[in-house]
Symmetry: C2
């Protein structure tokens, strides 16, 4: 498995990926899932891949050395949506070559990508080489590309994408990330999200690749491989866990109205208790002389 | 979908379930997933079910009105592992009746259960009726029963089980729950875990059923249906989110060594930055006059 997350905020883009690959828990290895395509001053593209490693690498090979040089490439596509189309087309090319052979071995065509970046443009939409000239800047954009080669773009109400083992690390992003989140805070959020995932799932592993792209930089300035000795990540790992437990301890435990051993300190926060044993509400569920406890309130349909 | 969680700590058992059922997001309804079997003074059994609702209900019907009255039932099985076997057998009976017909409609035989409870026993292992007599108390125990009718028991290193949409709510349990966790704190942990799940997944919904069983009570004393007006859960929802964001804000953002705008306040916590553009490490990935940024460190195999 894999965990990759990318965020698109007003100040720029954040990309974070793990490097674990596995074919069963007894065959674990390390592979880079982040690939950066940079032409300083003109474009920065970052691609995160998840799924079958042979497939994501086949797509990367197709992108690096296109089988049809007449089509637009990562380096020539004039806008970010055009680049997303190039990646989607590469996924479809690989599907055409590989899917049938894999199917014979019962292997799903399983790969997905996150693409983000920024391209300097001119008024007529052509990419400008170098930093001089009358170029205009298109804003950084973020896309998710599916196995079928189709794709969606992030938006202000959904400023991030995850691929791979996404669920463990989703709640913290949902709670803190908005387009206004500063870039450093977004990077911290991605690392906290990764920390939760690492803790709960063996198939996601260190080292991590983190790239933080500042809007209009048009070059890679913040790119780091985080291993177990990284003091910042170690601090996040330790502090977040400790503080989470502390916050948890500070929230009062539930008080039950009936409990002499649990005095009613906060009536407004008490759970309403339905005293048991309650009569079985459905005849079929009640055995003579034995009680099937059931909530006695009719449950509203919501 | 569904989210159910149950915990087995030294002081007792905690059970929490949502009530949302859905067949697609446009067909959402409410169903109870917790069923309590109580014979006060003799046994308390709690069953949480997830999966195909028709299947989990079929298993409950089989348990309430056994098709073969000569076999041990929930009410006569002398020990908790025996009860787990009764539930497993009911799952297998339903499988035998239903699986083939469902298969013709492409419906998986998908159901799983968490079973927990305590049974008063006597020296010869027979259940004792009533509270008098020379009964011995078996400790409360917790089991997870799979679609195939097989089951596993919780242990001190894994004192909880989840079924349904389990991933969003797992990190907080992994961080705080141990067998020594007091019962009220365990209930709070289950509610925080549920809160994270509710926030991230539409297919899990209120109201919630919470049952807290105190070791050796042999009756249901703490059983509540939590709806959107429940002050305690509303307080958890609000406080946990707020405090999480606060803790998050208190953790320092990463500092980058090169950034004049981000002075190096904590050198020991800084991320090590690999300045870019870096030379393409693999020839095949480098396009002339364009750079594929690659980490220049060889990546160790872990």
């Amino acid at each position: 498995m894999t965990y990759c997350v990318a965020m698109c905020v007003d100040d720029g883009l954040v990309f974070l990926s793990d490097t674990r690959t596995n074919a069963g828990v007894d065959h674990i290895s390390t592979a880079r899932k982040m690939t950066v395509f940079e032409q300083p001053g003109e474009r920065v593209l970052v691609l995160l891949g998840a799924g079958n490693l042979a497939l994501t690498q086949a797509v990367l090979h197709e992108l690096s050395e296109p089988s049809n040089p007449d089509r637009p490439s990562l380096w020539t596509a004039p806008t970010m949506p055009d680049v997303a189309r190039v990646v989607g087309q590469a996924v479809r090319d690989v599907h055409q070559r590989e899917a049938r052979a894999l199917q014979e071995f019962g292997v799903d065509f399983n790969c997905s990508f996150i693409l983000g970046g920024q391209i300097a443009g001119t008024a007529n939409g052509q990419g400008a080489n170098g930093e001089g000239g009358a170029r205009t800047l298109n804003r950084p954009r973020l896309f998710m590309i599916y196995s079928a080669g189709n794709f969606i773009e992030s938006s202000s109400v959904n400023p991030y994408f995850q691929i791979g083992e996404s669920k463990y690390g989703k709640p913290i992003i949902d709670r803190v990330l908005t387009p206004a989140t500063p870039l450093g805070e977004a990077a911290k959020c991605a690392l906290v999200s990764m920390d939760s995932t690492l803790r709960s799932n063996l198939s996601v592993g260190m080292p991590l690749d983190l790239l933080v792209y500042e809007t209009d930089a048009l070059r890679v300035t913040r790119f780091v491989s985080i291993d177990q000795d990284n003091a910042y990540f170690e601090m996040i790992h330790r502090t977040w866990g400790e503080r989470l437990r502390q916050v948890f301890a500070e929230i009062p435990d539930p008080n039950w109205r009936d409990g002499a051993e649990a005095p009613l300190q906060r009536p407004e926060r008490s759970l309403v208790l339905h005293r048991s044993p309650l009569a079985g509400a459905e005849a079929g569920h009640t055995t003579p002389a034995q009680t099937l406890a059931q909530d006695d309130k009719a449950r509203p349909q919501r």
